[in-house]
């Protein structure tokens, strides 16, 4: 019951989903639509696990008084406020939207914008032409950067006697050519990996998603 049933379910749903892809027959199409519906219905319940685990983690932090445990109350506070305003009326609630627009959005947007600083610092400190490979990465990155910045074309057209918009043309060439082919190589390899993983999962060879235990 603990391992076999999940393995059988996984096999059945997997093999059905795979085979219906090859048959345009209405029964097969109906089956496909039904399985997709099941996926849509079951999926949202996974939320339960996330919430339980989060609450559990912070309850333990408070109980054990780990460093900065006081901040855990803020997590509960934020969660409760959002749920209190959003749950009864749905997401089209004024306070809920206000909190999202003026608290959640600026915080997340700002957190991400920290990346601008980090990328500059990483460029300065870690971006070294140590080896041939690193040099290539560096040169390609610099060309693409100058091609992306509108000032690149402006400066080139002002200063250089030959050609128009060479920086953006060079950028486009790198993207269209060496970049494209290396990405394609990666896509081919990774896709074989994805398919092989899926085959292993369906046939119950890969079971790590079940976790350990019996």
């Amino acid at each position: 019951m603990r391992r076999q049933v999940p393995l059988i379910l996984c096999f059945l749903f997997g093999i059905v989903m795979m085979l219906v892809e090859f048959s345009p027959h209405p029964i097969s199409e109906g089956l496909r639509a039904e399985v997709i519906k099941w996926d849509l219905i079951i999926g949202p319940f996974a939320l339960v696990i996330g919430v339980i685990t989060l609450v559990h983690t912070h309850v333990i932090r408070v109980k054990r008084r780990v460093e900065h445990w006081q901040y855990s109350y803020l997590v509960f506070f934020g969660m409760i406020v959002m749920v209190a305003f959003g749950l009864p009326t749905g997401p089209k609630n004024e306070v809920f939207e206000w909190l999202f627009d003026n608290v959640q959005v600026p915080m997340e947007a700002t957190m991400f914008s920290l990346l601008a600083f980090f990328i500059a610092s990483a460029s300065y400190r870690a971006f070294r032409a140590r080896t041939l490979e690193a040099t290539l990465l560096l040169v390609a990155a610099l060309i693409v950067m100058i091609g992306n910045a509108p000032i690149g074309d402006v400066l080139w057209n002002e200063l250089s006697p030959v050609g128009d918009n060479i920086p953006s043309t060079a950028r486009q060439w790198i993207l269209d050519n060496p970049n494209l082919s290396s990405r394609r190589g990666i896509i081919l390899g990774v896709s074989l990996g994805v398919i092989s993983q899926s085959i292993r999962i369906i046939f119950g060879i890969e079971r790590s998603y079940l976790g350990g235990g019996d």
Binding site: R2, V5, P6, L7, L9, C10, E21, W38, I41, G43, P44, F45, A46, L47, V48, I49, G50, Y71, L74, F77, M79, V81, M82, V83, G86, L87, G90, P91, F100, D101, N102, V103, P106, M107, E108, A109, M111, F112, A116, F117, E133, L136, L137, A140, A141, I143, V144, R171, P178, S182, G185, I187, L188, G189, S191, I195, S198, I201, I202, Y209
Partner: protein, 215 residues
Amino acid sequence: MEVLGIWVAAFFTLCIYSFLYRDNPFYRFAEHLFVGLSVGYGIVFSIHQGLIPFAWDPFWEAITKREFMGLLKLIPIFIGLLFFARVVPKYSWLIRYPIAILIGIGAGRAIPNVMDARIFRQVYGTLTPFGQIHAGALGFFEIFGAILMLVGVICTLTYFFFSIEHRGAVGGISKVGIIFLMVGFGSAFGNTVMGRVSLLIQRVDFLLSDWLRLI
């Protein structure tokens, strides 16, 4: 409310930026509040735009219409409810049922579609320029591009062969593969710089124009 909103947003923006100096209580305050809010937001959406339309509505319909066969719709709902077994340690293994179904569906639909979209169509894309070369439809520069693409795809693919030692010819080809990979990663780095800086520009624009009204 709008002015208050701008000030609140500016306050939290600055709280997060204080991290650039170092980790501090303002940052931690914002970080934890953010975690809470985002989880709360996620709960509301999962319930209102996920559980209610997908599970509750059909469930209610099945109950009120009193159709026996309609009750079959309750099976996936029941399977979904097994996620709650996580609360009871003794039965927490029951969550494997819904997980197994979700994973099985994902794996099953991936196989044919990935084979088609990401293998067949990509190989096809690699071959088509050579048909055009045969037809004489390409100029010198495009022919050069097509050959370079072929070399790039083959060498990159060779780099990812794991069951042969990379010595001799194979080693050489895979070295060329690394060259292509690095140029590709370099272009990603260049584009990412642009992406990240855009985020900063937007925040600075918010602080300078919406909050401080300097522009």
